[in-house]
Symmetry: C2
Subunit: 251 residues, 2 copies
């Protein structure tokens, strides 16, 4: 969003919140934190959020509680963040990592030294600003996720590689599957209930990442109990919310 | 899409066509043809196209035929193209303008001289390449669309201003309403059946712009007859396609 566009966003606009979220992504793009495809990915998310009603559905709320329960129970949790997740909710994820006393690992699909540097710098700046000392990994990969070629498979042994439970907001389908194949509990945040990540994740939260992060911050201190979780049921529930929102609109 | 990303697109990928369409938008961005928000808009479209099934539905096909009929019948038709429409289907829209013997007017939401210059240059290059002499307007606005402030309302008297029927792929809702208020027949191409443009248009085609352009090129020479058109029914039909695609996915 350039200055001209930014000035057009009026707080009285019915979609002001969505436009302000979009602005965060655009700003991060200017700072070199994002791959070219990040804006397109964000637009896809916007469309699904619009269909879901731009609010946390009851089933997404339950999924988030289940995610909080599993992160609290984990022996070695880790938050795996990409550029969009850091741009949208970097500060909240630092708070969550601090609550869980776990590291954050930056894990980006299109890894370049510049982008990795920009993301590391941004999180370290927020860490200082919040007075936290969350460990930020990803800069010096020394292990590999089996089954992923090239830089996409790079990770750190004391982060993603050895974790038992991993939170992956906005994750690529291939990598989600590879993490599941490693035997980890994979908690996905994704707005597309039909994506491979949503389908393959242990618990998929179909909700917008900034809303999820705020909810997790409220839920983690309550240390909810883990339940039997039916991921498919939760995904169908998200699809049903969309169906309910679009039926009989014009008749 | 940078070189690295481009190399990851394999023709055997199940979504190869969609990825190649995306590449056209990314390339146009690099050439300065697009506003920052263009990639996000494209992503939103991708999500809706995915839900629709990435193919022309029967009701979209009927809407396209109705659009062809009304463009053929028009006394003074015009194609109003923005950056995304030119990036995705500039060549096909030149062919359509030539079939209809009408001008193209470039009309972009975030007008800057640089972006306008890049789009004019691109269309003129394609005009020459195709051996056509379609009139390309938009560079020297001398009239205004009533009700639109600033550069968004600028248009040309011998193009949009005096037209009776206007094709607007991927149009902003405000501008669509303003064109309707001028008494024009407005033919919308949009992947979101719930957008203001889709709701307000005379005929809304809920389909991906490159597929629509190809269909129009086939249909226009057949000079189909205009019918009574129920736009709301067509929009509900598009929503019903989405519902059908997402019901009982996980049960």
């Amino acid at each position: 969003m350039n200055e001209e566009e930014e000035n057009l966003v009026d707080p009285s606009h019915p979609r002001y919140k969505s436009l302000m979220i979009r602005k965060k992504v655009a700003d991060a793009g200017v700072k070199g934190m994002l791959a070219d495809s990040a804006m397109i990915a964000h637009g896809r998310g916007e469309a699904f959020d619009y269909l879901i009603g731009e609010q946390t559905t009851p089933s997404a709320y339950e999924a988030t509680k289940e995610a909080a329960a599993r992160l609290v129970r984990a022996r070695k949790p880790v938050l795996s963040l990409n550029g969009n997740a850091i741009a949208l909710a970097g500060q909240d994820f630092l708070t969550i990592a601090s609550q869980l006393d776990c590291p954050i690992e930056i894990n980006i699909f299109y890894r370049t030294p510049e982008r990795m540097g920009a993301l590391l710098g941004h999180l370290k700046m927020l860490n200082t600003k919040l007075g936290l000392d969350v460990e930020i990994l990803g800069g010096v990969p020394d292990a590999r996720i089996p089954g992923l070629e090239g830089p996409r498979g790079a990770c750190q042994s004391n982060g993603i590689f050895e974790s038992d439970t991993i939170l992956v907001p906005l994750e690529d389908g291939d990598r989600c599957e590879a993490l599941i194949a490693m035997g980890k509990e994979v908690i996905v945040i994704d707005l597309n209930p039909l994506s491979r990540s949503s389908r393959k994740g242990t618990v998929a939260i179909i909700d917008e990442v900034t809303r999820v992060a705020k909810n997790l911050i409220q839920m983690i201190p309550q240390r909810p109990a883990v339940s039997e979780w039916n991921n498919n049921q939760a995904l169908q529930s998200a699809l049903n919310s969309i169906s309910a929102n679009i039926e009989n609109q014009f008749q």
